[in-house]
Symmetry: C2
Subunit: 351 residues, 2 copies
């Protein structure tokens, strides 16, 4: 299977993405698991009635707009055995992960004071932050309740541990807001927890539930983790050079909320003392240089290229983890997803 | 075993508590499980290092001031077999319940904008509501991770379901804020979820982990549930007539935050149309009659007595649930706790 994706070969001096990209959307890549995703949708909507009546309307509101379902897709492919098999266990496990993800979104939107998600008011905006706190808790409880319906404690254990780590990543990030002394390794630690952990557990669980051998489960888990790191690096660079219409969310929010992400960490290293002081001062005052100015500076210093290399390094590592297992049914499908993520960067119009 | 507790026999016309009360404190009642509680304390403090380093300081801050540990005490007694046995499983299960309880407190304090708990700044006050959201999530995750260390999924299942119900109770309560048309049964439904559920699960789990027969596990669960309802009724009446120094928390907060609890529901039923309209108007404007005035009105209408009867009905039902099992080791101990809760009302100085 090949997805015909070519990456733009950007350099610091020639950041031109003008070559032809054979872009393949997530719909194409996820076509083989369309029936699984439909089952997941039904299953998730069926969950509404399992909640107490106080919570149902809120849960239904949350489930109305599903996201990209990237974690379920990863889980379905990691547990892929043959085209005609849809395992109820995989659907349930995907629902567990997606409910945890949903809970974190509901809570994140409180922290970020976000008013819109998927073009609808966030729960916090519509029902107030108090209700959003409680609803997130209820969604998380239901995720764990579903996890406890598996015959053994494995799903509960991996999901609860992963969730604790997601929280640790978010807590780390919150404490580091406005900290311009953040090191590259701190950044990686944070995104490894806050984003890559759920990618990891999606892949790991999928392969485990499909009874693949331990080495393969472990490799698929690593694939998920590195892919998750790449995904977050993409998200962080998109906050600078993405186009809102294409990315589908408000950009520039990281800078505005004091998140010192990889592009800024790398930029600060390339600046002379005076320039650096100015960047830090602007950032600490909550008034960093305007995004356009920052983007010009980053283009000048080759930062986008450097971030792009970091991104590619993760995607490469993700794919390398699968290299020894080329004949396993999930592998081509998973590589399809990593190609999809890799191609995201090609959407950017480089400054 | 007898705890020598006599209840004040209050009546609507003569609400005098001036007789001698042989009051027995929780310390006396929990003396037999002191070693269990010490183990729990060690175990809980040991948990700090299991969290990621981003979270540890926050967890340690939360654990610094333990509450009354009433849920662990219930769990220990429900699983009581002999004086010299401390089961590691019971200690771990108690930690699970207490971490869930702690998580709900951390989140409740955000909703209530509370600044103090156990005479320390709340997490929300000290670190901000965003961190409090995330820490509550991390505590809850850790609770479920501990629950998943049991050999089967029972603990995960009952704890996650209970937590979902606690959230439903809190959500119901939030949606009903300011609603003066709340019915008695709505009130009971809310407190059954938000408070009694964790009491129930503490007792149920304790007896289950001690391998008691099903009928007894079920009876002990019922005991916990009715005791939990009583406990909340007490808390709600204390908000009117308690004495801050004795109860140890700010009073009058329910009325201030628009919670229409049992005393007010019953009062409204006894008022004539005009008086009722006035109460409702005051309440809806966020300016209900001052607590002293309300208390006078309630004393006049015999409301405290009526609430006291509701409270006693629950305690009686709790004890009745245990009646057929008088020779089971937990029973006398559990009755000690219900006597303790029963005696709480005697602390009031009736208006």
């Amino acid at each position: 299977m090949s997805y015909f994706i070519q990456m733009p070969l950007t350099t610091a001096t020639q950041p031109s993405p003008k070559r032809t990209i054979h872009y393949v959307g997530l719909e194409t890549i996820s076509a083989p698991v369309k029936p699984h995703l439909a089952d997941l949708e039904r299953f998730m909507r069926g969950q509404v009635n399992d909640f107490e009546r106080e919570t149902r309307e809120l849960v239904a509101y949350c489930l109305k707009n599903s996201g990209k379902r990237i974690r379920p897709i990863l889980l379905f492919y990691s547990g892929w055995t043959s085209p005609n098999t849809i395992s109820g266990d995989l659907v349930k496990a995907a629902a567990v992960i997606e409910l945890v993800h949903l809970a974190t979104l509901v809570h994140d939107d409180i922290l970020d004071e976000a008013s819109l998600r998927h073009n609808e008011s966030t729960v916090s905006e519509k029902f107030g932050p108090g209700i959003a706190v409680l609803l997130g808790d209820a969604l998380f409880s239901q995720a764990l309740k579903l996890a406890s319906e598996f015959p053994n404690v494995d799903v509960c254990r991996s999901v609860s541990k992963a969730t604790r780590r997601v929280c640790a990543g978010e807590i780390g990030q919150s404490f580091q807001r406005g900290n311009t002394a953040l090191e590259v390794e701190d950044y990686y630690r944070i995104i490894n927890y806050k984003t890559a952990e759920l990618f990891y557990v999606s892949c790991h669980l999928g392969a485990k539930l499909a009874d693949y051998p331990e080495e393969f489960i472990s490799a698929v888990g690593n694939f998920g983790r590195r892919l998750g790191v790449a995904y977050q690096i993409f998200d962080d660079i998109a906050d600078f050079i993405g186009q809102e219409a294409r990315i589908g969310k408000t950009l520039g929010t990281d800078v505005a909320s004091g998140k010192f992400t990889l592009p800024l960490i790398l930029l600060l290293r390339k600046l002379n003392k005076m320039e650096g002081k100015e960047l830090v001062r602007g950032f600490k005052n909550g008034k960093p240089a305007d995004i356009k100015g920052l983007n010009r500076l980053m283009a000048e210093k080759g930062i986008f290229d450097q971030v792009c290399q970091c991104f590619m390094r993760e995607i490469d590592a993700a794919e390398e983890a699968l290299a020894p297992f080329g004949d396993y049914p999930p592998v081509d499908h998973l590589k399809g997803i990593s190609s999809y993520v890799r191609a995201q960067v090609s959407k950017f119009v480089w400054p």
